[in-house]
């Protein structure tokens, strides 16, 4: 019996090793383990053995059959794996072929800059205010303490409608409107479109964008103005940016300042871009003029405030390396898709 089983195992092993696919493996299984297979025959032959040998022979048969079964299972797993590998091998694709894609659009570079700046100020507790683009001269000039004979009011500089309104020359009238509509504390920024009678060239456009900021509260100081702007400008231009506050004059602030940031092109060493000064003028600011406050019904003895304003085109141009402002208004998709 033992001999017979050993012979059987030997032939099973070699058949198993030679089995090319799952089908022949199944044939092997039927041949040995099937109803009419070898084991059935061996089991039938068990009764021909002497009774005392039967138990040990039974154990041996069972062990052998268990081995056959697990060997078959293992061979089956191996073979299926091989077949899958072969199939996978045929399914290879060239992953460098172009994608099927739905192209996405982009926000205009100016919108991206406005969004970035707005995000910085919202983080500092500001709201975003808006106002009309065609404005009353009262808000665009008078409320900002701009004298009646100031050259900025000239039709050479500002566009007027035939009804005597002005296309706002700055976002500052939003300040005036906000102070009229709200009680302090006020913390707003006002990005928007403004107009000046400039002919179109690489650095001028009759339509452009500004962002205005205004804070009015008790105890607001110029030190707060400096602190706020340095947080903002370092966030916008990078932590290593150096700032320079220079005294200046604006009718609607006193004291007033212009703020320069270290030159983007040379980092402050001096170059053509910054005319060798190492700095680039970036915004105007100051403490809200007491008359501007009192004209809007805010008591300058109780409240103080600061305001600032900056042009957005030049920031977008600097950020994205655009040298001609006209590109921003042409709307060529080859340009717009770069941002």
């Amino acid at each position: 019996m033992r001999e017979r089983l050993e012979k059987l195992t030997e032939s099973f092993r070699s058949e198993l090793a030679d089995a090319p696919d799952l089908k022949s493996l199944e044939e092997t299984r039927v041949k040995y383990l099937g109803k009419k297979g070898e084991f059935t025959a061996i089991l039938k032959g068990l009764k021909d053995l002497p009774p005392e040998e039967r138990p040990s022979a039974g154990v041996l048969i069972n062990e052998t059959r268990d081995f056959f079964e697990s060997a078959l299972e293992a061979a089956k797993t191996g073979l299926s794996r091989k077949q899958l590998d072969a199939a996978i091998e045929l399914e290879k694709i060239d992953v460098t072929l172009p994608p099927k894609r739905r192209e996405t659009g982009r926000l205009h570079p100016l919108s991206q800059i406005i969004r970035e700046i707005t995000g910085i100020f919202i983080g500092m507790g500001y709201e975003v205010a808006e106002g009309p683009e065609i404005e009353l001269t009262r808000y665009n000039f008078d409320a900002l303490n701009i004298p009646a004979d100031h050259p900025a009011r000239d039709s050479q500089d500002s566009f007027y409608t035939t009804d005597g309104h002005v296309l706002r020359t700055q976002t500052s009238p939003v300040q005036a409107r906000t102070m009229e509509a709200k009680k302090p504390p006020i913390r707003i920024i006002a990005p928007g479109r403004v107009f000046r009678a400039d002919e179109v060239d690489a650095t001028h456009s009759p339509v452009f964008h500004q962002l205005e900021g205004l804070v009015v509260d008790k105890g607001v100081t110029m030190a707060h103005l400096k602190g706020t702007l340095s947080v903002f400008l370092k966030e916008l231009f990078g932590e290593e940016t150096k700032l320079r506050f220079r005294p200046h004059h604006f009718p609607f602030t006193e004291p007033s300042a212009e703020v320069d940031v270290s030159c983007f092109a040379c980092g402050g060493k001096g170059c053509r871009v910054c005319k060798d000064s190492g700095f680039i003028e970036i915004l105007g600011c100051g403490m809200v003029h007491p008359r501007v406050l009192s004209m809007r019904g805010i008591d300058p003895e109780v409240y103080t405030g600061f305001a600032f304003g900056l042009g957005l085109e030049r920031i977008a141009m600097q950020r994205f390396g655009i040298s001609d402002m006209r590109l921003l208004y042409e709307n060529d998709v080859k340009f717009l898709s770069q941002f």
Partner: protein, 789 residues
């Protein structure tokens, strides 16, 4: 404002490099725009004495000179004919550089060795108008003996540094050398010595004997005059000419030069009249008469009107006040006595006059900004002082001065706490007093004495600025602003951002267009004559007719942008725009409406591509809208346009641009535009979302194919489906529309996939069949479409 540094230093001893000067001035509020160096490129040119002149052996037009150039005697060949032995001349030695950058090297001229070059004034960078003693063609000869070997840059005062300042509109006092010098003194904490204005008055007689002044126009705030006798007109000395040149003013003669010099130095315009040209010795400041003709110094006849002001005598005008003098009273070489005017006029009047006449002069641009009337007498004295100094004439005693309302100096109590609180520093009273005093605002006993040239200082905030800027803005400690408010976007702003993001995600690029456009846009867009869109806000002073009306519709900007992309040969283009349109409103500001606009074209792009983007946007905004065919939009293809509505409110339109309009914009292909009312979108947007339980029971799906008349819009069929679908109709998806051979003429097949599901139990086949039957019945009733057999 241009200021030669050497001139500034005459009044305040600031000794530092030009770079440091620039920085300190800029950081104290006088921004230096640029600096330039005069005579900077000339080097190696020295004074030389001509020792001998001999004929050149081989050239008739050349001579050979021996020149004592200090350290050596040089043989130099020259072609100039204006030299004699003993003359002192500029000698460019070997290795010298001329004003135009030419390098001089020793060499041979027609075989004779020449070790340098004798120079003309032009070769030193100037001209005869600045150095009138120079010959027309030839070598410059010094008028006085010079020490050979000394650099001509110093002898001719060629060298100077000139700083150009940006002067802010509140600091008219800084439009002068003295103003800059005061600022420099303040910035550096250096002493300041005002220019000498003492007058000897050697001429005898008094000004008032010669001149009386009658001011008839209140726009003349003050009129001062001095009389100069024994006038001797000649060129000014070099130092004076040089300063004028450095400031870009051409020297003319000593009297005119002095008036210009004082204008530059003190900022006070001056004018010199020939005293004989003023009849009766009576100066009248009056309004011009309408239509009065006047010939100005430049020889042009000017037509005046009564808004302008003239200086006149009882017979005639002699000058346009504050702008330009007249031909009839010009100072000429024969003048025996002159009248020096130093007056103050209201800035607005001068600006208007200058603008109306189209005549802007140095004087008018100074007056325009508003001057201090208390400067008049000082300036006229300073001019008389210089005239005496130059030996150009002698002053008669006293000033004729008419000053109707003298402007007194102002005082302001100093509120130290308020100044500290505004800036955010804590300076002592003494420190603040010292800073103000440095700024020429004398601060003592808690009171600031404001000089009249600082009319801009009115409030504590102004004092605070003076203290802060001299303390140094950069030294003010930054501090964080306490945020007592929550930052946020409004609902409107949030939705606007959402709209932009959604359209970008749908593949559209945001574009930015001008707010004003050509009125021809309405024709290009085929608007009929009476279209309300043609009623636009007009610009009074546009840059040109192409920018003369404020847009009433966003269509033109979009069509132009598409057109540009076609012209640039971009194969496809998808744009969106989120901006305002402007509608005129009677009495009040125009109505500004928010418009969201899409525009696109492309080889495979069609109406439904754009509809997809619009529907995606509506989905994101939570708006369930309907699309209704419209054929009466002038700018749209009548068979390919839809109105988008929600509950009867129009949200906008979508359609193909009318082929004629597309042709008008030279868009040589089908283009699609959707113009949405941004305000209505924001108003209708519903961003609230609620969770609905996910389905627990299986769905039953059924396909139905319907036979409908061609003209029935599928939207009607769909509406009929949902009307009777009941709660169990989950969705109805159109999956096929077909018209062709198998279908009858004028008909189409429309196929839907319906999904039915109950949220409470598993639907039975019978329930589904009943629901479908109800739906089909309703479709037939409402649209005539039947189930295809």
């Amino acid at each position: 404002m241009e200021a030669p540094i050497s001139w500034v230093r005459e009044y305040t001893p600031v000794a530092c490099s030009i770079k440091e000067f620039e920085d300190v001035m800029t950081m104290s509020g006088s921004k230096v725009e640029t600096t330039r160096v005069l005579g900077g490129s000339v080097s190696g040119v020295v004074a030389g004495k001509i020792l001998s002149i001999e004929k050149h052996p081989d050239a008739d037009k050349l001579v050979v000179t021996k020149v004592d150039a200090g350290s050596e005697t040089l043989q130099i060949v020259t072609g100039a004919a204006n030299l004699k032995v003993g003359d002192f001349v500029p000698v460019a030695t070997d290795g010298a550089t001329l004003a135009d950058g030419t390098k001089i090297k020793r060499g041979k001229l027609r075989g004779v060795e020449s070790n340098g070059m004798l120079c003309s004034i032009e070769e030193l960078g100037y001209s005869r108008s600045e150095y009138p003693e120079a010959p027309e063609n030839g070598i410059y000869v010094f008028t006085e003996p010079q020490e050979p070997g000394v650099s001509v840059v110093s002898l001719l005062e060629l060298y100077d540094e000139v700083a150009e300042f940006e002067i802010t509109s509140n600091r008219t006092d800084c439009n002068s050398i003295v103003g800059i010098a005061r600022e420099a003194a303040a910035a550096f904490g250096a002493p300041f010595t005002p220019p000498d204005a003492s007058v000897k008055e050697a001429a005898g007689g008094s000004a008032s004997e010669y001149i009386s002044i009658d001011i008839q126009n209140p726009d003349c705030l003050r009129y001062c005059a001095r009389v100069i006798k024994n006038v001797k007109i000649e060129p000014s000395p070099l130092w004076l000419r040089h300063r004028l040149i450095a400031c870009g003013v051409r020297p003319i003669n000593n009297i005119v030069d002095v008036t210009n010099y004082v204008m530059l130095e003190l900022g006070q315009p001056m004018h010199a009249f020939d005293a004989d040209g003023i009849a009766g010795g009576r100066v009248v400041v009056r309004r011009a008469r309408d239509g009065e003709k006047f010939i100005t110094l430049d020889g042009n006849e000017r037509a005046l009107d009564s808004s302008m002001m003239v200086i006149a005598d009882p017979e005639k005008a002699v000058a346009i006040a504050g702008v330009m003098g007249g031909e009839n009273s010009k100072v000429t070489a024969g003048a025996s006595a002159i009248l020096l005017e130093s007056a103050c006029f209201a800035g607005a009047n001068i600006r208007q006059t200058s603008k109306k006449l189209g005549l802007r002069t140095d004087a008018s641009s100074k007056y325009e900004k508003g001057l201090d009337p208390n400067l008049c007498d000082y300036a006229v004295n300073r001019a008389a002082h210089l005239i005496e100094l130059l030996g150009a004439g002698e002053a008669a005693a006293g000033i004729s001065d008419n000053y109707p309302e003298p402007k007194p100096p102002v005082t302001l109590p100093i509120e130290y706490d308020k100044i500290n609180a505004l800036i955010g520093f804590s300076l002592s009273r003494d420190e603040i007093d010292a800073l103000l005093t440095r700024a020429f605002i004398e601060a003592r006993g808690g009171v600031a004495h404001i000089p009249t040239f600082r009319a801009d200082i009115e409030l504590q905030a102004d004092l605070a600025e003076e203290a802060a800027r001299l303390y140094g803005y950069d030294k003010i400690e930054s501090s964080a602003s306490p945020a007592a408010t929550a930052g946020r976007l409004s609902r409107r702003q949030k939705i606007t951002e959402l709209i932009k993001d959604t359209l970008a995600a749908q593949g559209y690029f945001e574009c930015v267009t001008y707010s004003f456009e050509s009125p021809k846009a309405f024709d290009r867009l085929l608007f009929p004559e009476n279209a309300p869109e043609r009623r636009a806000v007009k610009i009074q002073n546009p840059l040109g007719s192409d920018y003369s009306v404020m847009r009433t519709t966003p269509l033109n900007g979009m069509a132009e942008s598409l057109s540009l992309n076609c012209a640039r040969r971009n194969k496809e283009c998808r744009l969106f725009n989120a901006a305002r349109t402007y509608a005129p409103r009677d009495g009040g500001l125009p109505e500004e409406k928010f418009a969201v606009t899409l525009g696109a074209y492309g080889e495979k792009f069609d109406f439904f591509d754009m509809k997809g983007a619009v529907c995606a946007l509506l989905d994101v905004l939570g708006i369930k809208a309907e699309f209704l065919a419209v054929s009466d939009l002038p700018y749209a293809h009548p068979g390919r346009a839809a109105k988008i509505t929600k509950d009867g409110v129009t949200l906008g339109f979508i359609g193909e641009l009318h082929p004629t309009a597309a042709a008008n914009y030279e868009i040589g292909r089908r283009a699609y535009i959707s113009a949405l009312d941004g305000d209505a979108l924001i108003e209708s947007a519903d961003l609230s979302r609620r969770h609905a339980p996910l389905p627990k029971f299986p769905a039953i799906t059924r396909d139905i194919a319907l036979l409908a008349r061609e003209e029935v819009p599928v939207a009607e069929i769909e509406r009929a489906i949902f009307e009777r679908g009941g709660k169990i109709l989950e969705s109805a998806e159109l999956f096929d529309v077909y018209s062709g051979n198998q279908i009858g003429q004028g008909c189409k097949s429309v196929a839907y996939n319906l999904t039915l599901r109950s949220s409470e139990r598993t639907l039975t086949e019978d329930e589904a069949a009943a629901a479908i039957a109800k739906i089909l019945k309703n479709i037939e009733e409402k649209t005539g479409a039947k189930l295809r057999e």
